[in-house]
Amino acid sequence: MQSFNYVKPASLADAAAALSGADDGTVLAGGQTLLPTMKARLAAPSDVVDLGGIAELKGISVSGGTVTIGAMTRHADVAGSADVKGAIPALAALAGGIGDQAVRNRGTMGGSVANNDPAADYPAAVLGLGATVKTTSREIAADDFFTGMFETALAEGEIVTSISFPQPEKAAYAKFPNPASRYAMVGVFVAKTASGVRVAVTGAGNGGVFRVPAYEAALSANFSPDAIADGVVSAADMNSDLHADAEYRAHLVGVMARRAVAAAAG
């Protein structure tokens, strides 16, 4: 790890000031991606602005069929929250399956979503549930937020403050973990809502998290595993690496989607 300046502001305004005053500043949320990257000398920011001191970024609230989770809420808190388990049990279960206990005790929802790792779990839930991402300057619909691998609609210096999830009728997340990293090699989030079914896939696509309109249409008509089959997702759009080639990933999207539907329907 190379030397850097460390600041821990108490407010979003101070954080913004610290970032704008930095040469090559970066935001530190839970640090579960940033810190290993810095330790491996793959990132060497001049300034690290730790959001851990900003109280307003933490916490979970449920009202009017919407679950709102502060950006600095840790995975372990989402996984263990009675409110989340009651309103959207699939979201709590997803959070409980991220990384390992040590990662869940430090990693945050905002950090994960802003980083948009193509194999992260939360982007599937945000897109699958049609959530809204609130930032220091605006609200962004999930469909507009994720723009590519490690790419989001966030502007320079814009910080995620909270994410609001509408409560679905049914939902489930099925993950096929990468054998080595245990990140999602394919993860499928399925949600049945009053306005139809949403299916979001993480880990598989070469452009990051994506929706599967063909599955959504079929499942909106018949919410059952039998309604969807293999071959819908094109291998041409899939990632390929030493653990899974594109064809295998495309196949797994179907398998995991059917398993998610079965879990949600059950």
């Binding site: 491996a40 000398r41 096929f176 080595a180 990293s181 899974a244 295998y248 797994l252 398998v255």
Partner: protein, 788 residues
Amino acid sequence: MNDSVAGIGARVLRREDFRFIKGRGKYVDDMVLPRQTYAAIVRSPHAHATINSIDSSAASAMPGVVKILTATDFEAFGGVPCGWLVNSQNGDPMVEPKHPILAEGKVRHVGDPIAVVIANTRGQARDAADAVEVDYSALPAVVSMRQAIDNPPAAVHDDAANNVCYDWAIGDKAEVDAAFASAAHVTRLEFTNNRVSPNAMEPRCAIGDYDTSNGDYTLYTTSQNPHVIRLLMGAFVLSIPEHKLRVYSPDVGGGFGSKIYHYAEEAIVTVAAKVLGRPVKWTSDRTEAFISDAHGRDHVTTAELAMDADGKFLGLRCDTLANMGAYLSTFAPCVPTYLHATLLAGQYKTPLIYCNVKAVFTNTVPVDAYRGAGRPEATYLLERVIDKAAREMKLDPAEIRRRNFIQPEDFPYQTPVALVYDIGDYEATLAAALKASDWDGFAARKAEAKSRGKLRGIGLSCYIEACGIAPSAVVGSLGARAGLYEAATIRVNPTGSISVLTGSHSHGQGHETTFAQVVAEQLGQPIDNIDIVHGDTARIPFGMGTYGSRSIAVGGTAIVKAVDKIIAKGKKIAAHLMEASADDVVFENGMFKVAGTDKEIDFGSVALTAYVPHNYPLDEIEPGLEETAFYDPANFTFPAGSYVCEVEIDPETGVVEVCSMHASDDFGEIINPMIVEGQVHGGLVQGIGQALLEQAVYDDNGQLLTASYNDYTMPRADDMPNFTVDHQITACTHNPLGVKGCGEAGAIGSPPAVINAIVDALGEYGVEHIEMPATPRKVWRAIHSAKN
């Protein structure tokens, strides 16, 4: 077993675990010497390149930088030596290119060390290492062994034609070919034994220290065999005589073979310490370990088995390409030859065996012994081809093996591949494994799994290994450049406490417990009165170290021999004190007794008398009670066993779940069953890891794709079933403890059991083989291809 002293056979809890569990182990990286500096190594990002220039001017000016060393600073010294010479079939010695300490004009693998930056802190050294500018001209990388030989894109070394290090063979090819010509059936299998990274929990670390007052060097290093490092580095690299070089390996966090070898970093810190007059520490990080620790396995093999109509083996014919990597590591040449091809008789009476091994240089990290070292490759070869033969011959996998077993009355058994097995009972371990695994009840379990949509399979593997790597005369005739014995000193202190100085090194094996049990049993003394001292050339008379499951069979026997000398001397002292003839004195349960009388004297009194010799036969014996023994065994030991694995496969995803793994081993006599079970468990994890999860993968450019745990799949607890293990015992005939060794068996016996089970599960798809690691992608691909 003597219960009162926690002797042989007792499940004594590991005495060393208190400090490990409490985080109070003392590892090399825990040491901080006064005025210590830190080394960071500039390593090649290229698999193969010419170094045009190295510019360290900017790095030299950075904060805290003390010194930057390159190859020119090491011109006075030799290269990293190889400890084993293998000759080709035509009599030529193997090609043995220089392995420079730092790259001399050329880099030959990603991670090849080029320069050393030494600074006052580790961070300063790392920062400055990043600032060293190296100008390269990239060369084509040699990665695939087949391509390296047949159509080489480049020469890894100019003096190795077609990148071949040696072309070696064992057996009479004409006789074997004749057996094949007359065979009723021939089974053929081509496969790769996958390359793995050893991944000891503690990365390597070395500190060099130089005492300017007397010219003494000290090297603290994470080694399995500090005396061997003193010999290799002192004599062959740096020309430091033994009395001026102390090598100390305190607590070491696992080795699995990877810490046997002498590595360049050890020579670097030792030389640098003298240059600077300050201690120099280097600690590997994890990615550095992936690109600098010797890898294991990496064979490409064709095996053919000739049988008569009843499935009796007539001949075995094998052809193996063995990857050496870019340079010859310490033991590398002997692994695919004398530790692999000589094991190809397995547990069977195959009358004729031929094996050709070509060792190949590639632009990859050196490959050397890894837990099992050659024997897992031999077992995998045999047990896979036999399993395929059983399928083709429509014979039960147990039955085809049984028909070919060497029988108890056949021992000692001369195999056609040089080894003489002293003893074994292969039917006993097979029967135990089949019973414990409920082999006969498998059909019902398969049917039940099918009702859940799962494919269930069962696999058997019967292994043999040659352990206790020795005797010196034999290994010397096979090209070892060292003797392979072990040394021990028993120092009975004046008050009767006992220091055992052993040349075996413990880095997870539990010697501090097991060896103490042996001495406790022999001397009838409480285990708490016995200390096991190891790892320090300044304290231990000599030693060849720990590898090849040799510690108890060779090191343990050296201890027994030294204790025998203590008892013999003690009898003379006791005889004098009891006014009897030494011939009439017996030693039992810690007491010297005059046979047939009630006269006796305890061990502690004899010890005290030896050091306070007021009433002592000084005209016959010397005072003191300390004895040393060097033990060079008569033969290898031959542990053997049968393993049964059951798997369930999810045909939709290709995921393989290991449902059960049973190991029935014959390790001879057992000192501490708990420690033996732990050794088997650990070996099974590594064996199952190799079969299902682990692989060091290079791309076509020689970049290591699996240089972190994000991509290298380490086995985890939830990948493993609960193991069941049992032991059958035939006592080794040529050491006093009757022991054989248990450290590697799990890693040797399990991979073919796992793959045989997977192939069995996929039988309905006509799958005949699946390569290790059998990842979900490969298994799904096999099913998917069969369906279409």
